[in-house]
């Protein structure tokens, strides 16, 4: 925390206790410390679930730097409005327009304090997640451009809040700033339309995907230009401040805001692609019992787990599976072992498995079982599938998964008997057409 006090003054004669002067934050410590605590607290709390993930990915941690703007940007804006609304009204005895430092120096000093404190609090809140990612991520590194968009988002929010306080000349509009910035940051969470303009995205990238370079560069440029424009407008406004003449010269001072107003147009007319596949997608592969298993380099430690789970289901199945490759979804969009399996006809022989940092789903052969038991086709039929067929597919899936309970129709049957039945009813299984009459022993 920044030391908000200056060194002590020379004691006047006869004074018993000489108070220290709070020059940097004349409103006292709390108007800065409270939002600092709130920002750090919100970020620490909101990233708690991520920190508890069994695996970490830099691409997600980097994105979290802007995703955490959702609540912190409104907090920073509201606090800045309060600060400006208290200190900037030209009727204040210490804010008369005739003062030497009224304008640029005052705005620079205030915003320097607020931005420094808020960005520091923000980064402090993200630090535990970064530490966990440093120790837990198996691939890649921080995406500094993406991280910077989050920091700039917070800086811009602070500057906007400060401008609101300068325009309205009252701290009472702090809630207005909160709502305004909450709405602005939430714009991007509704879809792609405003994603280039608002810091918070409606979807986060995962391993194998990165935020596209044009998208990140545009966001950096937009946030930087907007911040400069807002600060420029604020300085002009403060210099033109006159007590009892509310709007004189304000229009002219706000002209710099035309810069962000113009910059918002291009991405609204032509939405930029948010994400792109990694330029290089290194993979780790291994063949077991005729099936090729591949994961992204960043999921190297999960390959063995995925093989063990899927191979067990295939062994229990006993027959020929409709897939010969089991690939990590992080490999989509790029050639694996020289073949663009995502686009090639070979895609039908590939089973894509999501390998997620928060949910080690590869430890259970969910995708394989979905194909082998017919549960996948049943789900594709949605509500039109026969409920009895869906129930039987579910029972078969749990049997293949090794989690069949006593009520399961396949419990207690010899594996060879079920395997023969599977081989004889392949078409029914693939078409979600199982009936009780087709069961072994019926």
């Amino acid at each position: 925390m920044t030391d908000l006090r200056t060194s002590g003054p020379t004691p006047p004669d006869g004074a018993a206790v000489v108070p220290r002067v709070r020059l940097r934050s004349p409103l006292g410590v709390w108007p800065v410390l409270l939002p600092v605590l709130a920002i750090t607290g919100v970020v620490v709390a909101a990233t708690g679930a991520m920190r508890a993930w069994p695996y970490q990915e830099w691409v997600q941690t980097s994105a979290e730097f802007h995703q955490q703007n959702a609540l912190t940007a409104p907090i920073a804006a509201a606090a800045a409005t309060y600060f400006a609304g208290r200190l900037l009204p030209p009727s204040r005895i210490f804010a008369l327009p005739s003062a030497t430092r009224a304008g640029r120096q005052t705005v620079a000093r205030h915003l320097g304090l607020l931005i420094g404190a808020f960005v520091g609090a923000y980064l402090l809140g993200l630090l535990p997640l970064v530490v966990v990612t440093v120790s837990g991520a198996e691939y890649g590194g921080p995406d500094l451009g993406v991280m910077l968009t989050g920091v700039l988002g917070l800086v811009l929010a602070t500057a906007i809040g400060y401008l609101v306080g300068a325009v309205t000349r009252t701290a009472m509009t702090a809630p207005l700033s909160f709502v305004l910035l909450f709405g602005a940051t939430a714009l991007g969470s509704g879809g792609d339309t405003f994603s280039a303009l608002a810091p918070v995205l409606h979807i986060k990238p995962v391993l194998g995907v990165v935020q596209s370079t044009p998208f990140v560069v545009y966001r950096l440029a937009f946030l930087t230009a907007s911040t400069i424009a807002v600060v420029w407008a604020t300085v002009g406004l403060v210099r033109r401040h006159r007590a009892n003449r509310r709007f004189r010269g304000s229009g002219l001072a706000l002209l710099p805001l035309l810069i962000p107003a113009v910059l918002v147009v291009p991405p609204l007319l032509s939405k930029p692609a948010l994400f792109a596949y990694e330029a290089e997608t290194p993979s780790v592969c291994r063949a077991v019992n005729g099936v090729e298993y591949c994961v992204h380099e960043g999921h190297r430690s999960r390959l063995g787990i995925m093989i063990a789970a899927t191979d067990a289901a295939l062994t229990r199945h006993g027959g020929s599976a409709p897939f010969t490759r089991v690939y990590d979804e992080a490999l989509r969009g790029r050639p694996v072992n020289g073949t663009d399996v995502w686009r090639a006809q070979a895609r039908d022989t590939v089973l894509w498995v999501p390998v997620q940092p928060h949910n080690p789903s590869e430890s259970r052969p969910v995708q394989a079982v979905g194909v082998l038991s017919g549960l996948g086709p049943c789900h594709q039929l949605r509500g039109t599938a026969d409920p009895e067929s869906v129930r039987l597919a579910g029972d078969l899936g749990r049997w293949l998964d090794g989690t069949a309970a006593p009520g399961n129709v396949f419990t207690g049957m010899p594996d060879s008997s079920v395997q023969r039945w599977i081989a004889a009813n392949g078409d029914r299984i693939a078409g979600c057409g199982l009936t009780p009459e087709t069961l072994p022993g019926q």
Partner: protein, 227 residues
């Protein structure tokens, strides 16, 4: 609109009198740099640059701020080096006799103490000229007397321009007086000379003290002389 105002003031408290619309506010705005003259200018001991401390008639404070922080921050805003602000604040508070309340919150001050705090804030950067616009308006008699004592003390070593409607402020504080009437400096002299001129002017109106009635008659006469 001001025209042909050629006025030099020196150390001490100089009063500025004039009826509404006489140009007092315009003159003060020119002095503190809020307005620019079409021609002419303000000079400080022969130089075009000087520092001014200004206490407007109406100003606001932040109730939650401490007294010393208010003055120290005012000192910084007015150009004092950061490291010098604390000392400047305590010197200014001592000058207005508020140093014992340095640690108090502004909201706890009385009206008179707030007015003195305003003077301290205007004084903290050690200005060449201290301009006070109607500083005693709205104060009770005791507070007004206390503030006059403070202003008189400051005027012993500084140049103070006191704009006021109150004849008592002039008679208690000012060694010199200027009277603005219809945009021009209609009178420039000592308080005794003004009193003499007022005494020789037939009074007008029915309300107010004999001095006030004579003064208003004088202002009317000075304005009329111009035509």
């Amino acid at each position: 609109m001001l025209s042909g105002v050629d006025w030099a003031i020196d150390t001490g408290v100089t009063g500025l009198l004039g009826p509404n619309g006489a140009g007092k506010t315009t003159l003060l705005n020119l002095l503190v740099g809020l307005e620019s003259p079409a021609s002419g200018g303000v000079r400080f001991q022969g130089s075009s640059s000087g520092t001014i401390g200004f206490v407007p008639q109406r100003f606001s404070l932040v109730g939650g701020m401490r007294v010393v922080d208010t003055v120290a921050y005012a000192a910084w805003v007015n150009g004092v080096d950061r490291r010098g602000c604390a000392d400047a604040a305590f010197r200014a508070l001592a000058a207005v006799r508020l140093d014992d309340l340095a640690d108090a919150r502004v909201r706890t001050l009385s009206g008179g103490q707030r007015q003195r705090l305003g003077v301290a804030a205007a004084l903290a950067h050690d200005p060449d000229l201290l301009v006070l616009d109607e500083p005693t308006v709205g104060l009770d008699p005791a507070q007004r007397m206390r503030l006059r004592e403070v202003i008189a003390d400051i005027g012993r070593t500084r140049t103070v321009l006191l704009s006021t409607h109150l004849i008592e402020d002039i008679s208690h504080l000012c060694q010199r007086v200027g009277v603005l009437a219809e945009g021009r400096l209609a009178f420039d002299g000592t308080e005794a000379e003004l009193t003499e001129l007022v005494d020789s002017t037939p009074s007008s109106g029915v309300l107010g003290s004999p001095f006030e009635r004579a003064y208003h008659a004088l202002v009317a006469k000075l304005g009329a002389d111009r035509d």
